[in-house]
Symmetry: D2
Subunit: 414 residues, 4 copies
């Protein structure tokens, strides 16, 4: 590459591929990043589709074998936008080849995979090779502001966390199968897809780890019409089971997952992930109550943060709707004047800006693969509790022999 | 009494006493009730305070012994506004004396008491003596409209219930003790005080019973300054324990209780009751998502119901803010033109209007003591689960030998 | 009257009569007023209807001649709840008879009448007889808080006032005539009915007078079905004009009135009153922007005040939703705990509490008849400007030769 | 240019330049436009600054003379992002040279200029050369949906339009001068900057023209610190007047402009543009009430449209918060799944997509220069009315003898 450039190879070109491409094309237009991304190669299984996507998204070249893409000399960074079942293999290969990695969430489909990935990332870091997991909601300016308020002590001691991620695209029982409903591809359902985001966001904003959970999960609709040839978001066709005249596919993941949690700092948490909350399109909501202040956020109004400042005298106190579009708000100075809203894709542009800064600066980007593993351990504890009568289930820790299953067995009943 | 009047004797004269008095004074001014309440006697332990309250609230006479109040010939209805530890004794005596009973929630401090009360109410009903438990939120027009929408099938199959009741008056660690923080008086903390409301509302709006729960509970602040002589809302002084220079009292109830639930019709529920949600003053919120529609409610905007009608074409669909102030909304026709809001106390006026209609009409008022018992069983299951490692705990049923404790032991871990 | 009582005679018993009755019955139950109202006599034209209303509303006696009601020895205060065409005559008679007066708004149907009333009130005050005009929105706690913030300098120099009062009950072209649509009864249409409220509120909250206006007005629907025998809110049957088969009545007032204004302190104002804003039920909204802060209010959320505090650092600033239900908010301490909302009728209870305090304390209540006159002068200027090509029209002042008519004549017609 | 490309030359590189550049870079990545923009040349007065901007924004070459930029063979479309005093000259030259034109709003600084531009655009269209004025708010999906609802008759007969555009960046009296505060550069103040947007949006959404106005305007702060060397948004340095020690500049435009309006279809309108509404960052709000429905919009929540559907039965009716992020909403299908919000810059991407479609399709893009002229005539009428005692001032029409100047002369000055 020419000086100051970094060649990117992206694996996958569906929804996440489109938004990552936009970020790679755009980041240096707004942020003073030390490295300018070069969209070197896009990789997908189907040559024609991949070529079409590459033309639309602005990629210079195409591969159909991810190993070839990873191996290319013009690729210094591998961006993994595939379903969760392939994350570990690709990420491990890329790190081994000395390529920086940006990996979509959830990090992996199992704790074991995530542990291997986190270990590889730690080893790679010692060689200057960086890895980041793409919890893009950390780059919503309003949530970054929320974290700052907590870190500055403005909320005092945190007592309550309320986090839900509500969508409704499965409310219709006749909406078809996708890879997201197949355990072998997606690992889990709404838990990994949506729950992973709110687990990471809650831990990140509060600065506390979830230490244990009690959970329930449900699959409301157990079979759905098989996917047709038309794509939707599914980049990889999944086989349906023929059932009478209409081909049906079996849903093998959770439709909804709910859990209670305790945090390392003493807070209580309530979490819910579902795609059956009719009318809620992308309601990733987070509420935190502390002894000195509270915050509330809803991604459907992503440019706003509600903040209750307990230091304000009672007669004047109230939740303050902060329009997080001021130049001194996180990331916002790079964009438009106050009140000119940002959108979903900006979070990814912010994400790659931070990643490029970390790579050039020789620091570890966040969220790290270790952060991704931490989320994975929470998800595993949730699954274990849900399948064990909601019994309280501690979240495993890095150093121990404890994994998902062991945690369950180790759960002491008071 | 003169024809068309009903003499009321009210026990207790603190917060609930004030608002019940207003309802008794006001109901016949707005509703065409068949019986006009006569505020016959107010009963409290302290003669001077009770006399003062009676004058302010408009009661004709005063008693300091609730048995005397219940026994009076000019009392046909006993209204119980005391802490939960006295509900059972007073209600049983009143029903035995042939007096109709309105009893504040939660119905009792234990399932055993509630069972006895429900049995007594059922027996009394056979004699034309009526009993009602005061879950006043059923009389919020917006919630009554929500229930109607569900009953009319407008939400389709219910999949999710999200209910929280958030207050913040204990956020300050130095706010003093009250009887509400003492288990012997209040039975439980936020669970019975706030949780009881959302359990009843959720079951009533959805028309489904909670069948099992998994719970956690916490007491954030375990000792507080003892109550002074000045009252606040606490109508009965509680003894504080001297600790060094400042007399401190021990908090023996939960500060917060959270639980997951399953409903008889297949819905999943999430519940939270706390007095530590800084900035939330009376956020009794209920969200229900069904296959055909959704509703959302927050008591802090009690005149509004948000309704998502899934039958509306997607491009026009959205949560509709219904200002529940139209003449054809439940209870509203008795009041003002559209857009002229109602307040908290109106729910009690509606409540006694319905009670008077039931008494005169010879029907059973709702919520019945059996409904109160059903809530009590859920609260007991919550306490049991919370003290048993969050293990899934079925809610006991009327016919069985199962009580709170037994339910716990009977909880099968899958 | 017995010591500490005050006998009230109320003229009119429609919508305003119902809500005033509630206030008189209720005020001493919640406020430590020095005088307890006795509901001595209710006066209406139709004996049977008046007797029925008196029974429902709790009045001891009935009159059908307002002069008789005013003259009664057991009446010390006359409460005028009739249409505007009768205000002057009744109020003048009552003041002359030494009776305190509470008069519904607008004060009168012309500036000349209002001037005579204000002069009479001033003269009466010298004899200890008090007069108040019923701009009840001054008693909304949120607006009282807004005024306090302005008075405390928290908004700095006021630059903008935005006030609208939006209802929609005339949107339907087939809704029938009422006295409110007849100029001879109501004086004007939405201007006097709704506009009077926002003019008073804007002047009161800002502490500035409106000095001039430019206006337009419109009558969208010029004839409507005549009123039937059934009442609605109209307490006095109005004659309809027969038009073919369906009897139609002519609308002789404005359906909507809009005006721009300048205030004595340099602020610019925008006002709108209409009953054709489909979907807005009672949206009396006020926004004020100053150099140091801003407020926003909407009666459809009457328990809330939005306050932007410009002293807060930019990154944390935002409109604060103050739930105006704290004990140290205006009027609220008399009622319920935080978050337990108040409704429309509470504003009237607050109003009579203040009036009773003023009568007993020997002070002039506010808003005075002079305040009512000031509003009337603004309304006259609006009408004059609207009928004179929107020409800028100064608002007449008490001492000057300029009155409503003179202003009109002095306006250059384009 | 190669087949399917169109070379763009952009004049100006401040705020508007940045956002237009983003649109040119991005449009073909999301929309199937028939022409792919090539960012051929960026033009600015200062060579170094322009080169820096060109590098950041992605332009291939640089000019410092706009005539040279317009003349280049590799430029087929001229994008004018300069202050209003230069629009006419550049646009006329470009059209004369056969180049398509996209011109920022307001179209010009006077009606006369705008008339000349509209005539030139009409003539150019006959030669296949297209011109568009950049009222980007027409491309907010929520407003495009609003227009569709009106056009489909869902609002019935329009009776009220309420439009404000509120910002607050001049609230601080010490914020410095910019070209936007100088009449010679900007033409007018908040009127042209903000008022132009709401005039165009109101006319476009309702499908009605404004026929007359009554207005007031004010300059709250008449002198401000002169601009320093640092830029802000001002792309052209303006000279300050030395005043004692601190150099001050004179503000020669309106700080706020308010006007009442009548529309061709009978609706009444209220408009306000200000930069002194403390706390409002970009509150471009539009409310429309019709006989059958109403809409409300606020750009600070730009992804939402509130719609009241009067056909819904009263007990279920309410303003519906439509999250305008569905695939079948205008423009949205090109972007993300439901609930994944769009931001400010997307409106420009939509704008150039429509322009490219029009150019390739041989149709006239909207808003045309004639539309821009229509807005200009309204602005002129507002200025004339404001300087003539708010006298009602008709809006000039293209064919008539009345133009901005004539209107002014015809207005009686009080």
């Amino acid at each position: 590459m020419s000086s100051g450039e970094i060649g990117v190879g992206m694996i996958g070109h569906a929804f996440m591929g489109a938004v990552h491409s936009h970020a790679w094309r755009t980041v240096h237009r707004f942020f003073p990043v030390p490295l300018t991304p070069r969209l070197a190669v896009l990789c997908g299984r189907d040559a024609a589709r991949t070529a079409d996507a590459a033309a639309r998204f602005g990629w210079a070249d195409v591969e159909t074998d991810w190993r070839a893409a990873v191996a290319r000399d013009d690729v210094q960074l591998v961006d993994i936008c595939t379903p969760g079942d392939t994350h570990a293999e690709i990420a491990l290969a890329a790190l081994a080849a000395g390529k920086h990695v940006l990996c979509e969430k959830p990090l992996a489909n199992s704790v074991a995979e995530a542990e291997e990935m986190a270990a590889a990332a730690e080893a790679a870091a010692a060689r200057g090779v960086r890895a980041m997991v793409a919890f893009n909601y950390r780059r919503v300016p309003a949530l970054a502001l929320a974290r700052k308020l907590v870190a500055d002590g403005r909320l005092g001691q945190i007592r309550h966390v309320r986090a839900v991620y509500l969508q409704d695209w499965l409310s219709d029982e006749n909406s078809p199968m996708t890879w997201r409903l197949r355990k072998d591809k997606a690992g889990s359902g709404s838990l990994g897809d949506l729950g992973a985001h709110i687990v990471d966001a809650a831990q990140w904003v509060t600065g506390q780890d979830i230490t244990g959970v009690s959970a329930i999960a449900e699959t409301f609709v157990r079979s759905r019409p098989a996917e047709g040839g038309s794509a939707g978001n599914g980049q990889i066709a999944a086989g349906g089971v023929a059932m009478g005249e209409v081909a049906m596919g079996e849903v093998t993941v959770d439709d909804a997952a709910l859990f209670l949690a305790r945090f390392s700092g003493g807070a209580l948490g309530s979490f819910e992930a579902t795609r059956y909350a009719l009318g809620r399109k992308n309601a990733m909501r987070l509420e935190v109550n502390g002894s000195r202040g509270s915050i509330a956020f809803d991604f459907e109004s992503m440019n706003e943060l509600s903040f209750f400042d307990g230091d304000v005298p009672g007669a004047e106190a109230g939740f303050r709707r902060i329009l997080v579009t001021e130049a001194d708000h996180p990331y916002v100075g790079a964009w438009w004047p106050p009140g000119h809203l940002l959108g979903y894709e900006h979070t990814f542009t912010h994400e790659v800006a931070d990643l490029l800064d970390a790579i050039a600066g020789g620091t570890d980007p966040a969220p790290s693969f270790a952060d991704g593993l931490r989320v994975q351990r929470v998800l595993a504890a949730v699954e274990n509790s849900a399948s064990a009568g909601s019994t309280w289930t501690p979240v495993g820790t890095a150093g121990g022999a404890v994994n998902g299953r062991a945690e369950m067995e180790g759960a002491a009943v008071s």
